[in-house]
């Protein structure tokens, strides 16, 4: 049974702001990230990448490079057999191109050499003959029947006949009678939006160290969000058995979804296999931007009808997403999320995927939702402006709540949207006077959250301390949260618990750190592993007391005689029981394995004030407040951190971040200089208001919090800008040239 019901309780430790266990390592420079590991005899691997957006690879001549002193091995796509499974095949082809280079930066070949200089020089000696093909990077152009075809034959059965070959998927959601709904509206607004592809922008580039031995075993040290999934992908690509590949997750320098798939890792393993030496590969920042994880770029039409008093009568959206040069199903998430915040009688969303000569999409924090909700929330806001209605009241009036039939199908259980809206309404920010030239915007946001496969082993040490092994790389402080939940359940101090992330050989499978799942799902496993250990400890106490094990209960970190024996013996603490464990049957450990469900959806509301320089089009965010339903906040500091961090990424997306392609199909801004993520001086303080509406699907009421916060900023800022300049932009980012153009266009 994969479902653990919430039971109301008073927490002693959960909810406190303890120091994170990896804190000292991280402030002293001791923490080891992907690029920080070395191995004796290690070689350096580098990748040769396509300078073309789309080209047939006629030939690759590696002979000259291979003959260079210091070059120990070279691999190309031919060294890998392409898996039969289409999804895996795409991942493999993305790691090393087969017959075509599909985007600027697509990996073509890789070299292992004695040092970085030799490796770099060797790349220059690899001769690749390309037949340059027509390319397409714009989604609307790519969707046309006469567009250059990125890959043939990739359309699913979902695509109607007559579409262009780049259109690979269609999905549709919704309910009710749209026509009747629009007929009831007093005002209908229909608009088209475009959003640029953005990058997760983690500061740590992808890095790994692979070591393959001649007996077919391998070790991989890698910065990843999911080392178990990396093991699956790499072992399939290298034709290995999973048990022969041990993957260890390094500390991870940010992921946000972008480190959920492999790029360098199978290549490093293959180079190590070929050379018989450990191979380290680290991407440059340029490679990170050109070849890894941007979001989908989108083109979205939205139509919404509203009555004079602010009731939404119907909502419709058609959203084209491009996940780059491969099949991509993210449009499904966007099409489901678009209207999730509203209680609607008639709603329909249609999602499409269109291939373009861009890098393969990787998940980015609530993948697909920010774009869809930006478009919907912009139109809702325009309706409020047009009808002279308060945008917060309109959202309260139409808010999805318990019993609402969600636009994506199910009926909502307990959800926190109304609570966040009411909190925003009561907050001083909403009524604070605005300075001259400032304007306020708001938006709702939504994300599903997931659970997934999780294993936890909890070892009770003989000195009364507890070690936890879990399988999810810690991106934002999850070891602290897991230790807190263990301490709470066991009734021992937080300081007595140490949580580590086990390698793939030491623990059962864990799904990737994604879908805002870790505190939720690992939490369930941890609490249950603790309960398992407690059962065992009660049994040991019963043996020591010579009473029936059912007559023992656990409270405040100790076994107590209960029932007829109550009070007969002094309580026996965890440390007392642990100290005698060798004499009572051996070491004590608790275990739990689960594929957790019941994560519970999450809503947020963001309020922001902006100031637009009407002569330059520059937007300054002057005040920002995030309201989010977090369920029980296990470690409030890191819950706030997720809310603030997501907001900051959303602000960057709204204002300046974008993939810019030239007419030649090459990425123009593959660096932090021109891919402009927010810097400290760009942002105001970001206030985070946590609402704790317990998730009925978690024993402590925990909900995922990591993703929802990136969803609302796009529309919140757009809505504020539109109120500041008196006209609405329909394209992201709202960079100064676009804003100035809109101002001039409106004048």
């Amino acid at each position: 049974m994969a479902f653990d019901a919430y039971v109301k309780r008073e927490f002693k430790q959960v909810g406190t702001r303890v120091a994170r266990p990896d804190g000292v390592d991280k402030v002293t420079g001791r923490a080891l990230y992907g690029a920080d590991m070395v191995a004796p005899g290690m070689l350096v691997g580098r990748v040769l990448r396509s300078p073309h957006a789309h080209a047939r690879i006629v030939s690759i001549d590696t002979s000259e490079a291979a003959a260079m002193p210091g070059v120990k091995g070279i691999v190309t796509g031919r060294d890998f057999s392409v898996p039969k499974d289409e999804f895996l095949a795409d991942v493999a082809v993305n790691c090393l191109a087969q017959d075509k280079a599909l985007y600027d930066g697509h990996a073509i070949a890789a070299v292992a050499a004695i040092n970085a200089t030799v490796a770099r020089d060797a790349l220059k000696k690899i001769k690749v003959e390309y037949e340059v093909l027509p390319h397409v990077t714009d989604i609307d152009v790519a969707a046309k029947p006469d567009a250059p075809v990125v890959l043939e034959g990739r359309a699913l059965e979902t695509v109607p006949a007559g579409m262009g070959a780049n259109v690979t998927h269609r999905c549709e959601f919704g309910h009710g009678d749209l026509e009747a709904g629009f007929a009831k509206a007093d005002k209908i607004v229909e608009r088209s939006f475009r959003t640029a592809a953005t990058h997760q922008g983690y500061i740590e580039p992808h890095a790994c160290l692979a070591s393959f031995t001649t007996d077919g075993r391998a070790d991989l040290w890698v910065c990843t969000q999911g080392h178990f999934y990396f093991r699956t992908l790499c072992s399939e690509m290298l034709g290995m058995e999973a048990s022969q590949l041990k993957v260890t997750a390094s500390e991870i320098g940010g992921g946000f979804g972008g480190k959920t798939t492999v790029y360098l890792e199978p290549v490093a393993l293959m180079l190590s296999k070929k050379t018989g030496r450990p191979v380290k590969m680290v991407m440059t920042r340029d490679e990170v931007f050109r070849a890894t994880g941007p979001t989908v770029s989108t083109s979205i039409d939205v139509k919404i009808g509203m009555t004079k008093d602010g009731r939404i009568t119907a909502g419709w959206a058609d959203m084209r997403y491009s996940g780059g040069a491969f099949q991509c199903l993210t449009c499904e998430m966007g099409a489901q999320a678009a209207f999730a915040a509203y209680d609607l009688e008639a709603v329909q969303t249609v999602g499409w995927n269109v291939m373009t000569n861009r890098p393969k999409e990787a998940a980015y924090r609530a993948p697909g939702a920010p774009q869809a909700i930006y478009a919907v929330e912009s139109v809702v806001d325009e309706l409020c402006q047009g009808l002279g209605l308060d945008p917060l009241e309109v959202r309260i009036k139409n808010a999805a709540k318990k019993g609402t039939k969600a636009s994506y199908g199910p009926t909502f259980d307990d959800i926190g949207l109304l609570a966040t809206l009411e909190a925003a309404k009561k907050h001083p920010h909403y009524t604070a006077p605005l300075a001259e030239g400032q304007a306020r915007g708001l938006s709702c946001g939504f994300w599903f959250n997931f659970g997934g496969n999780t294993c936890v082993t909890m070892n009770v040490n003989t000195d009364g301390t507890v070690g936890i092994a879990e399988g999810n790389p810690d991106i934002g402080g999850s070891r602290a949260s897991i230790s807190l939940m263990a301490a709470e359940e066991l009734g021992i101090p937080y300081e007595k618990v140490r949580t580590i992330i086990a390698d793939t050989a030491s623990l059962g499978y864990a799904d990737t750190t994604d879908g805002s799942r870790v505190t939720f799902a690992v939490g369930i496993a941890t609490i249950n592993a603790a309960r398992d250990a407690i059962r065992k400890m009660c049994k040991r106490a019963a043996m020591l007391w010579g009473i029936d094990e059912d007559a023992v209960e656990w409270k405040d970190g100790a076994a107590h005689p209960a029932g007829p024996n109550a009070g007969k013996f002094p309580p026996m603490s965890l440390a007392d029981i642990a100290a005698k464990s060798f004499q009572t049957g051996g070491p004590i450990a608790g275990h739990y394995e689960v594929n957790a469900d019941g994560a519970g959806v999450s809503f947020g509301v963001h309020l922001c004030d902006v100031e637009v320089d009407k002569e330059t089009g520059a937007t300054k965010v002057v005040r920002y407040t995030v309201f989010q339903d977090a369920g029980k906040a296990v470690h409030p500091d890191y819950v706030e951190g997720q809310m603030q961090g997501g907001a900051a990424q959303g602000i960057g997306w709204a204002l300046n971040e974008e993939y810019i392609y030239g007419a030649d199909g090459r990425l123009q801004n593959p660096g932090f200089l021109d891919y402009r993520i927010p810097v400290a001086s760009d942002l105001p303080p970001i206030e985070a208001v946590i609402l704790e509406i317990p998730n009925p699907g978690h024993p402590y009421g925990v909900r995922g919090v990591g993703e929802t916060s990136i969803v609302p900023p796009l529309a919140a800022i757009s809505n504020a800008i539109s109120r500041s300049i008196g006209t609405r932009l329909q394209e992201l980012p709202m960079s100064p040239p676009r804003v100035l153009k809109a101002i001039k266009g409106a004048a």
């Binding site: 479902f3 959920t260 199903l329 489901q336 998940a363 609530a366 199910p410 959250n449 594929n595 469900d597």
Partner: protein
């Protein structure tokens, strides 16, 4: 019998019906019966689907019990970042 709600684009394979009925008592049985009764749904079911049962989303839990009065909604396989 369980009423199963299908998302819009799946209805092409059920003669336009948004809701179909199958004889099933678990997640897995729902999918098996759907694939049997509506072969057009098979490719999507093989790609993976989630299922919301009484408002809670399950990704793979084949043996989750479903009662005749349960609200059952088939959804695409959920992914996150």
């Amino acid at each position: 019998m369980v009423k199963v709600l299908l998302w819009g684009s799946l209805r092409a394979h059920t003669d336009g019906q948004a809701e179909v009925e199958v004889e099933a008592s678990t997640f897995k049985e729902v999918l098996d019966k759907l694939a049997e009764a509506y072969p057009g749904l098979r490719p999507q079911i093989e790609r993976g689907v989630s299922m919301a049962i009484d408002g809670r989303i399950y990704r793979e839990a084949w043996f989750t019990r479903i009662s005749p009065e349960s609200e059952v909604v088939v959804m695409p396989y959920m992914t996150g970042g």
